[in-house]
């Protein structure tokens, strides 16, 4: 066939688009205002596509379980983990985290785990949301 793409292109005209309109159907004119409204509960955001089980998102840290062995510091490829010597606990800077979950694997007491939270964009690298301790 000379134009083998034509039939498929026609069929596509009557199908729903694949794109998930996240976070809003149309780009808001002011993103900051849009997010403020979302926080105030005035508008709802279009939910993102669900993450599969085993997704590597924001790290969760169980401070009680941690024994301060510093093994996670040894394998972190980006040096995102800081040791607090006075209380023998760790502090994770998510702005540097590469989400490889290597620290989860090496932890002898399993105090670290990955959640499915991935919306972590922030203008401040040291904001409260981006530091896990």
């Amino acid at each position: 066939m000379r134009f083998s793409m034509l039939p498929r292109a026609f069929v596509q005209m009557f199908k729903k688009p694949w794109t998930n309109k996240f976070p809003a159907k149309y780009t808001p004119s002011n993103t900051t205002k849009f997010l403020q409204k979302v926080n105030a509960g005035e508008i709802k955001i279009n939910p993102p596509v669900e993450t599969p089980p085993g997704f590597r998102g924001k790290i969760q840290y169980d401070k009680e379980k941690c024994i301060g062995c510093q093994l996670c510091l040894k394998v972190c490829p980006s040096g995102a983990i800081e040791f607090k010597p006075e209380e023998k606990k760790i502090k994770i800077y998510l702005a540097r985290c590469t989400f490889c979950s290597q620290c989860n694997d090496i932890c002898p007491v399993n105090c670290l785990s990955m959640s499915n939270e991935f919306l972590l964009a922030d203008s401040d690298l040291y904001s409260k949301d981006l530091i896990v301790e």
Binding site: M1, R2, F3, S4, M5, R8, A9, W18, T51, P52, G54, F55, R56, L71, K74, V75, C76, P77, S78, T98, F99, C100, S101, Q102, D105, I106, M114
Partner: protein, 411 residues
């Protein structure tokens, strides 16, 4: 006194170091006669990121994730080649199940990479409907990657001595479903690429690389196989579990019965390799034995073992673009390796651009350059210097030229 005049019939176009068809900074200087390319010169070395230097401060487990960031598309190939090199030094025996799981990941990555390339190639000749179709197919393959590894692009799946995540029986239905989708759509994709007149007219007898040139310039991967050279690390060295699987060299004569070494042949080779990869994943799922997935589950113990290891090793892996080689030397004193050297496949596929581009038109530059699937970053300026005047040609104009050439074919 008569003024001495020199008439020059050719003029020069420098392309790069930053340019659309090249996805990473590289500098070309074209000698043109009208629309025809007379001579090409290539200069490299514009994106030195110091990755090998960054490895000075890291131990082998940390380098796995550093290697992953050499290339966004080959995010399995580089750590895989590094792992092979380290396993070579430390003489680590990998469990059999892990070898099969590694093949599955490697082939899944090949499917993603080749479908991505097919879309980019279609875009370069102005066939954007196909771009969206191929990327829709790629999306399914990426979803499967995310399901198996936990992330779409940076997979973080390979570990020295094995893999990090197993494929459990409850994952099999989703894999089979995706493979079926890929197989169904592969047929459609093949029909669109190989039977469409527009694609044929733009790609046949365009950017020819002869078998002699391919051998002389050490081209690797699909680029060299499209010229009829039987070179594939998977078959030649049978690392991972490739030795147990039914695999052979993919050359265009399997489908058409002849080897031309043009862009069309490179499309054929890549499409056939997508099919081969789907087939290999199915074979792996059938043959995969049960057992452990990693040789040394305690990473602290593994690191202590590697710290004591002294020696050098080489890892070779067939990435979607060709052979990737990693060389590692461990000194037995420090955590970090003494040396780590990476040779990515695109490095070999740069020089074959010269015979490919000679005799072609300016509008063919994007498709010919893209046909080797250069692993490079993209931007947008071309300056034309003609009779002392300087013109600038940006990405959109160059792309428009390419689209116009397709329209001029007047089907």
């Amino acid at each position: 006194m008569k003024k001495a005049t020199t008439t020059k019939t050719t003029y020069q176009i420098p392309i790069g170091p930053i340019h659309p068809a090249l996805k990473e900074p590289v500098f070309f200087e074209f000698e043109l006669d009208g629309e025809k390319i007379v001579d090409v010169d290539v200069k490299l070395g514009h994106v030195h990121r110091g990755i090998e230097w960054a490895s000075r401060k890291r131990n082998p487990v940390q380098i796995l994730y550093l290697a992953e960031r050499i290339c966004g598309i080959c995010s399995f190939c580089h750590p895989a080649a590094f792992t092979l090199a380290v396993e070579n030094v430390a003489e680590i025996q990998v469990p059999e199940r892990a070898e099969y799981l590694r093949v599955i990941q490697a082939e899944l990555e090949r499917i993603c990479s080749h479908t991505l390339w097919a879309g980019v190639a279609a875009h370069e000749i102005g066939f954007d409907t196909v771009l969206y179709l191929t990327w829709q197919i790629r999306e399914k393959a990426l979803d499967l990657t995310e399901y198996l590894t936990g992330n779409r692009v940076t997979k973080a799946i390979i570990m020295i001595g094995g893999v990090r995540r197993d494929i459990t029986p409850d994952m099999i239905p989703k894999i089979n479903e995706t493979l079926k989708y890929l197989k169904d759509n592969f047929e459609k994709l093949r029909h669109i690429f190989l039977d469409d007149k527009t694609v044929k007219m733009r790609s046949q007898s365009c950017g020819i690389l002869t078998k002699d040139d391919a051998l002389k310039l050490c081209a690797v991967g699909p680029t060299t196989r499209a010229s009829g050279v039987k070179k594939d690390v998977r078959v030649d060295t049978s690392y991972f579990a490739y030795g147990d699987l039914d695999i052979t060299y993919t050359t265009p004569d399997i489908l058409t019965g002849e080897v031309n070494g043009d862009v069309y042949d490179r499309i054929i080779v890549r499409l056939l390799e997508i099919k081969q990869s789907i087939d290999l994943i199915e074979q792996c799922l059938d043959k995969m034995p049960s057992g452990p997935i990693v040789a040394e589950p305690k990473i602290a113990k593994l690191l202590a073992q590697l710290k004591k290891t002294n020696g050098e090793g080489v890892g070779r892996h067939e990435a979607p673009r060709g052979e990737v080689i990693h060389y590692v030397k461990l000194d037995g004193v420090n955590d970090a390796p003494f040396t780590w050297k990476v040779r990515a496949p695109t490095y070999n596929n740069i020089l074959p651009w010269i015979p490919m581009l000679k005799g072609q038109q300016i509008a063919d530059i994007p498709i010919v350059a893209a046909s080797t699937d250069p692993c490079m970053s993209c931007t947008n300026r071309v300056a034309i210097i003609k009779d002392g005047n300087r013109f600038e040609m940006n990405k959109e104009q160059l792309h428009k030229l390419s689209v116009e050439k397709t329209r001029r074919l007047k089907l």
